[in-house]
Subunit: 393 residues, 2 copies
């Protein structure tokens, strides 16, 4: 793992989750970094989301992230905001950076207040871990129902040298395409302007993390935040340099997005839902979301059942404007339905081996329009129900 | 069971489903009846839906319903339309009524063509059963994954005598509030105009069957159709008479709606989601649907887990326009959340006995506006996944 220059990682057990689990982490940049963020559009925004938006609106450089799992600090009112600020004060002192340069994020149960004694008690261990743990440990500290930690990296050469990017995220449930629907952190050692970094992040999130769905539930705590600290000494100034960094940032975010769906709560499948020929991108997205969020499509995926009528049905109620006679459905490249009629032949024999795979490509061409969209969707399993019915998460 | 005057019922085993199961039924009125219908808004409309809409558009009186389970005759193109008409010809001859007065409906797997030999072979038995079976048998013949047949009745007195209403429906999955999302048939022996009957039916469906959700999936075959044959000899002419019939029609439809959610695939709970104080009814409905369709809310219901943060979260991403500070959440009458903050005290102790019930009232007051909505929602269980992953339905 090639860590971007000038970043250190921290992780410890604060007791927010079960004993023996990492649940508090930090990423610290040696020098203040250009910072960008994309946040949930849920009306109920968690205290750390409100705090980060306020901090990023100031346009100031930032020195790091402070992340806990086990509690979301969402729907916690004024006390939640005050607790959030107090955790920043405690951690900033412990990590020796200014409190107004530390971006907070939280994930876990909604509605419970922080136990500030646990936060205070965890500070010495958090400080001690800084610079001694790997990014893997920090990525583990932000997991909730995730079964694996999620990291992605990229690097590329410019004439001045190598630029490195490292991303980490958590997320397995309460995942929907309207916004990031998880926590994701990007560290980059390029030198770039605030405006360019924010634009690049927003664009890339829309093309990656906003294109996944597990259960259609958009969380109160979603955020993707990115720091660019310039420690590589390489400036992103020309259009070519911008395009190259954007390409690699998108790769990192796409890899994280895939990893979220691969680790979806109880998930066993990743459906790549591609929609083309729509009147516009919004209509294409409506179809992709209707298919990707349909419990009937998702249970058919889980059962490896080529029950394609459920896909057509979901497209039909999506609200997108199209002529049903023009819809062409292919699954794994096999033509299944066109001109309002199923293809002749024993479709089950053709589709069964495709449905048995982990990754399944579902392509809906719904007309002659220029609109297109893509969505990564998980399946819906008994395990998903068990995870969310039997445990408080 | 008080059967409306002038209606007879039929049911037989045609072999569309497993051997030994009733899967073909009919309701016949002795004289042509005023007919009304409400149909799915899915872009892909099943052949029988297209056929019924065409027939009802003619404004003609109708003499009955012909319903099969086991196959939906949806996404079957021109051949599906031709097959649908041919089944009407066969059944009309067998039942001795005009083919253009017999309204078809189908439910089952999408995309497969009818086996017309099975239809032909079933006609003698269907004809023989007419008038000899009870409405229960016909209601059983239209079941798919339903575990119980669903009937509701009402009667009331006018000065001329008694008016009777009988409703039956099927539906346990692919149930969503945008339209009827199931098959439902109403028989009434009042004498009423076509316009009044259609208006009454549309109004009452919007207040009952359109207010339920199992999985947010709107079927290709949904319909509610109602016949009023006037056989009671009692005319509905005054406003008082109209209001009285409407009240009883609504009661029948509400009972059927509740029975659908009670029999939801794998369902163990019925949540009554009430939203008030919205800017308008559409916003209230957005909140109710977001909560009622959230897999996380539904799995919490299944687990009897008072994890109220998921309800707030769903309201927050519903797209409704409201101020989160004004939202007040009550579960089973217990105040849980207001002013952006959870109520103090041990909420779990208060809510656990409420969540253990079968029927759970969730009330969200989201502001000072006049908009309100109600939705009946099922929970999401491992059994739902099993039903839809392991069996082709």
């Amino acid at each position: 793992m090639h860590i971007p220059k000038g970043f250190r990682f921290a992780a410890t057990q604060a007791g927010f989750k079960h004993a023996g689990k990492l649940d508090l982490g930090a990423v610290v940049s040696d020098n203040p970094a250009i910072a960008a963020g994309v946040f949930t559009t849920n009306k109920f925004q968690a205290a750390p989301v409100l705090q980060c938006r306020e901090m990023l609106d100031s346009g100031r450089k930032m020195s790091g992230f402070l992340v806990n799992s086990g509690q979301a600090n969402a729907c916690t009112g004024d006390q939640g905001r005050a607790n959030c600020r107090e955790t920043l004060n405690l951690a900033a002192m412990a990590l020796d950076i200014p409190a107004d340069e530390l971006l907070p994020a939280s994930t876990g149960v909604i509605g419970a207040q922080f136990d500030m004694n646990k936060w205070e008690a965890a500070m010495p261990a958090l400080a001690k871990s800084l610079g001694t743990v790997s990014p893997e440990e920090t990525a583990k500290a932000i997991m909730t129902t995730d079964t694996v930690h999620k990291l992605a990296e990229a690097s590329f050469e410019l004439k001045g040298g190598t630029v490195r990017l490292l991303g980490m995220c958590k997320g397995a449930g309460m995942i929907s395409p309207n916004m990031a629907t998880m926590l994701s952190f990007i560290a980059c050692d390029a030198d770039i302007s605030t405006e360019a970094w924010q634009t690049m992040l927003t664009d890339c999130v829309n093309l990656s993390i906003n294109r996944v769905t597990v259960d259609g539930d958009m969380s109160t705590n979603d955020c993707v935040m990115a720091l660019a600290n310039g420690a590589s000494g390489i400036a992103i100034e020309s259009e070519e340099e911008y395009i190259l960094l954007r390409k690699h940032l998108l790769e990192v975010l796409e890899e994280l997005a895939y990893k979220i769906v691969m680790d979806a709560e109880g998930g066993t499948k990743v459906a790549f839902i591609q929609v083309s020929g729509a009147k516009n991108d919004a209509d294409a997205e409506r179809v992709a979301r209707a298919v990707g969020n349909s419990p009937l499509v998702k249970t058919a995926l889980f059962g490896s059942d080529p029950n394609w009528g459920r896909i057509i049905c979901a497209a039909g109620y999506s609200g997108a404007d199209f002529n049903p006679e023009e819809l062409v459905l292919k699954i794994g490249g096999v033509l299944v339905f066109r001109n309002g009629t199923p293809e002749p032949g024993n479709m089950d024999d053709l589709l069964n081996p495709i449905m048995a795979e982990r990754d399944i490509v579902i392509h809906l061409d719904i007309g002659e329009g220029p609109g297109s969209s893509m969505l990564l969707a998980s399946d819906l399993s008994r395990e998903y129900v068990s995870i969310n019915a039997d445990y408080r998460s």
